[in-house]
Amino acid sequence: MNLAEGVQIVSFGILATMVIVAALGVVLLSNIVYSAFLLGGVFISIAGLYILLNADFVAAAQVLIYVGAVNVLILFAIMLVNKRQEFAPMARRWIRNLATGLVCVGLFVLLGAMVLSQRWAIATGVTPVVNSVQEIAKHFFSDFLLPFELASVLLLMAMIGAIILARRDILPDLRESQEAALTLPERPRELAALGGDESIN
């Protein structure tokens, strides 16, 4: 990456601002559809930061996997569980939010102090690799071969597990019922035995 230093600084500032603002929007906005689209903005901005860090392959993988797969999956989940419900108000909820905010700010101060006080062993005078795809491929097929294969097995397990967890049990003999023309015939749902929160507490 042979951009001038001013260009690098300015693009880092723009991308960092976009990341922080969009992440705050993901957490704080009340409409969850806006949150999902802002999450896509966070992912794309982080891909831009990866390009600033001389990592073109990982930036492309970030856009493909996060924006193309994970974000679309989250949007589909929002559409499937789209229930406009007002959450029941809870007593003393603001105390919990305030305590969480204090803990998060304290953690950020702690991490920032550690980052700024540590003397990092920056590699100076070493040119970064030109073709990062070849370098990553060499690692994948020599010293990271076992984790690479395990990752493929993990993806297969996650795919089968997600299908089994999320499928419905279709009853084929109820297919001709008239009143449920627009819904899939489904085995009657076994509601959880212990019911809501008022039954035990």
Binding site: E5, F12, I20, V26, V27, S35, L39, V42, I46, L49, L53, N54, A55, F57, Q62, I65, Y66, V70, L73, I74, F76, A77, L80, V81, K83, Q85, R96, T100, G101, V103, C104, L107, F108, G112, V115, L116, W120, I122, A123, V126, T127, P128, V129, S132, E135, I136, H139, F144, A151, L154, L155, M157, A158, M159, A162, I163, L165, A166, A192, D197
Partner: protein, 102 residues
């Protein structure tokens, strides 16, 4: 010139925002989104270390690819679990998922 500390501070801020969303949000899908934010913060740290401390053999980028893989699997399984819970309990309020609480 860009410094390593800028990226580390940005990753720390993103991680803290993710923790706040993870604890304080009541929508189950938003909890999963906060987990994705935290994973991205860690990825940003790994990429910064890979570029500034180890630019010759870029092992941080290899780690980042593995983290992206595991995050995709986690998102798929987590959203499937949320769908199953929604079919059983008719809600996605985190405060009402208390069957295993006590």
């Amino acid at each position: 010139m860009l410094q390593l500390q800028y990226f580390l501070l940005l990753g720390a801020a993103l991680f803290c925002i993710g923790i706040y969303g993870l604890i304080s949000s009541r929508n189950a899908v938003r909890v999963l989104m906060s987990v994705e934010l935290m994973l991205n913060a860690v990825n940003l740290n790994l990429m910064g270390f890979s570029n500034f401390l180890d630019p010759q053999n870029i092992k941080g980028q290899v780690f980042t690819v593995f983290v992206i893989t595991v995050a995709a699997a986690e998102a798929a399984v987590g959203l499937a679990i949320i769908l199953a819970i929604y079919r059983n309990r008719e809600t996605i309020d985190m405060e009402q998922f208390n069957l295993l609480r006590w």
